[in-house]
Symmetry: C2
Subunit: 357 residues, 2 copies
DNA sequence: GTTAGCACTCTTGCCCTCTGAGTGCTAAAC
DNA sequence: GTTTAGCACTCAGAGGGCAAGAGTGCTAAC
């Protein structure tokens, strides 16, 4: 049974009709809508063969056909047309990104929101260090004898800080020395490399007796921890409930629960540099996504940071369109992060974040 | 028609039965379960009067009764027993709070999660400054000629920072002077008070010509902005879908959408110091909450920060239990924030946050 | 004032039928 | 050999009717 050109056209028409209507597609509809000029009986024969090949499925005998996961796969790989964004769409994306480009947090969260709105599916945005982050520079701000603010600048152009209080008063000179020793010994180092030996060496060379070195070291370790550095945002989760495939409350609940779990989105794969990846049904690793579709794009944020933005929906998804959106926004975000535009006032673009109480 | 003791008992029994079962309550059930020792016919008469008084409602003629919003109100004000938490419950709450008490972010987010888990309703946690925040101390870390990290410590014991890059190289002494001038002129000041005059005065006294003062000022303004300082967390939103009143996908969608909107939770009222507030149905301001119930508790976080933690659910809620949870956790969070425990390593408890790209 | 009794109401579930969409197969037409 | 008209068949879904059950309100007796 060969996969003739005609079969491809029929499969394509079925996928596209089903994506739009969410209803099983019958032979008559295809015969009428497509420009194949074949009777429904012929289409019917072809559809039977496509079903035998595993590309279509039949909810029940007297219903039309629905694409199988494998059918979607073939559609995505071989049949779908590239979707071109309208001017308005690109404008909307750019507007969302431009406004707050100076903070990665907001960049990610706004990107997720705009994608979710444009596609009507839940969207997520993740940024994670490409390699383990390292400390670039250390500073201790002496506030008063009992209070010091530790500041660490990381190689992903992030600054972390922590207020530390000491019941025993500290000398200002001692605090300066602390910073100097940390700068000398701990820059260029990852969290894993912060060994007990290094720390106790620092303790010796500063003559610390009140735990200041230990406190600083613990701050550094937590600042470098992957959980601290990575950012994940989920937007438009409730959109799920507007989809016919999630009218089933329990099904919706299961997926929403999964998406809301912190760790879920951390596990998403990336798509390789500048690529768009499409995962259909069982191609997803997570059990909860086995009957969903995921489209994601990854991009380089510079400064040792890697971004991933994606969309989660039913397998019946307009993959071409979603992929086009994601590909476009990924490119734009890379641009934005690379400092394509310098915000007013000379602040460093996309290079800051707030560290607070 | 007076509101006799007997009527009160019947109303109480009806509310409690309905809260548990989510099904309209019939006279027979009350006659059997309550220890009033009355026949169902008598109960029936009383129920008819309670309905006439507006405390009960009838979904249709041959169904049982359901408490009206007003009925819940009376129940909450006058009838319900105080719920006592079990040892296990308090232990679970304490466990959730103790682990990460050193970061307000996580304290709030964990508190929301544990409350949502215990009650099976969506929960939210907000922290906002009681009064406009002010800058307590300023610092500029000189990284290299083109890069400075601005650090501002606020009076809510928050530290914000921003990396700034300058195309024109800066002298280290100039950067020191910048910090000194800012410390002299801008401490104790709110965002609103940062006037153009103050800024241009600072420009003059530092002899700044490359926009450094303006950049710093803009950083200070954004660090002091209420949006930047306030924190809101929503946990367990998908729990909504497990409730019988939200089997209706559209209803669930509407409420979820509302809760997920950023601004929704910012508008929640607080409950006065250490109080618990219960808002039933139309008592809520937001249209989307008019057929929901909200229970919230507020507490002082110290350092000019005010916390609110709350739960959103159907009007059919175990108000006594939820109020008890919230009251308990609010007290514990206040304790935790006040530095009830000093974490290992002498770090200042609940006084830090990360500021990052 | 309370309660037993009863007629009445209305929802819910169930079964049945009918309809229509869609199929697969066969045989004829091209 | 391929295409198509025709037809019998299948099955989900909508609609109607029916019985059961829960609950009510009212009346009359206690």
């Amino acid at each position: 049974m060969e996969f003739s050109e005609r079969k491809r056209k029929i499969l394509k028409a079925i996928v596209e009709s089903y994506v739009e209507s969410a209803e099983p597609v019958g032979s008559k509809a295809i015969a009428e809508s497509s420009e194949l000029n074949l009777s429904s009986a012929t289409i019917r024969n072809e559809m039977a063969e496509l079903t035998a090949m595993g590309l279509l499925e039949q909810p029940h005998t007297s219903a039309g056909r629905v694409p199988s996961h494998q059918g979607y796969r073939i559609y995505v790989n071989e049949l779908m047309n590239e979707h071109r964004l309208s001017l308005e769409e690109t404008r909307e994306i750019n507007k969302a990104l431009k406004s707050k480009v100076s903070r990665l947090d907001e960049l990610l969260s706004d990107a997720g929101k705009v994608i979710s709105e444009l596609t009507n599916y839940p969207a997520y945005a993740v940024a994670a260090p490409a390699q383990a982050v390292r400390i670039k520079r250390f500073e201790c701000v002496y506030v008063d004898a009992n209070t010091v603010i530790a500041v660490a600048m990381l190689d992903n152009n992030t600054v972390k800080n922590r207020i530390m209080s000491f019941p025993v008063g500290l000398e200002e000179d001692f605090v300066k020395k602390l910073a100097a020793v940390f700068n000398a010994n701990f820059t260029g180092i990852t969290g894993d490399e912060m060994s007990a030996e290094l720390i106790s060496a620092a303790e010796k060379s500063t003559g610390d007796s009140c735990g200041a070195v230990a406190a600083l070291a613990s701050f550094a370790i937590s600042a470098l921890a992957p959980e601290t550095v990575r950012r994940t945002y989920l937007a438009g989760a409730p959109q799920l409930l507007t989809l016919p495939e999630y009218r089933d409350v329990d099904k919706a609940h299961r997926l929403l629960n999964y998406l809301t779990e912190e760790t879920a989105l951390e596990k998403v794969p990336d798509a390789g540099e500048n690529g768009v990846k499409i995962l259909i049904g069982a191609e997803n690793v997570a059990e909860e996504l086995k009957d969903a579709g995921v489209v994601l794009a990854s991009y380089d944020l510079g400064n040792n940071m890697q971004g991933v933005i994606g969309v989660v929906g039913p397998t019946r998804m307009d993959y071409a369109k979603v992929a086009a959106y994601l590909s476009y926004i990924a490119k734009e975000m890379k641009q934005a992060a690379k400092g394509g535009e310098i915000p007013r006032l000379l602040e460093h673009p996309a290079e800051e974040r707030n560290d607070e109480q």
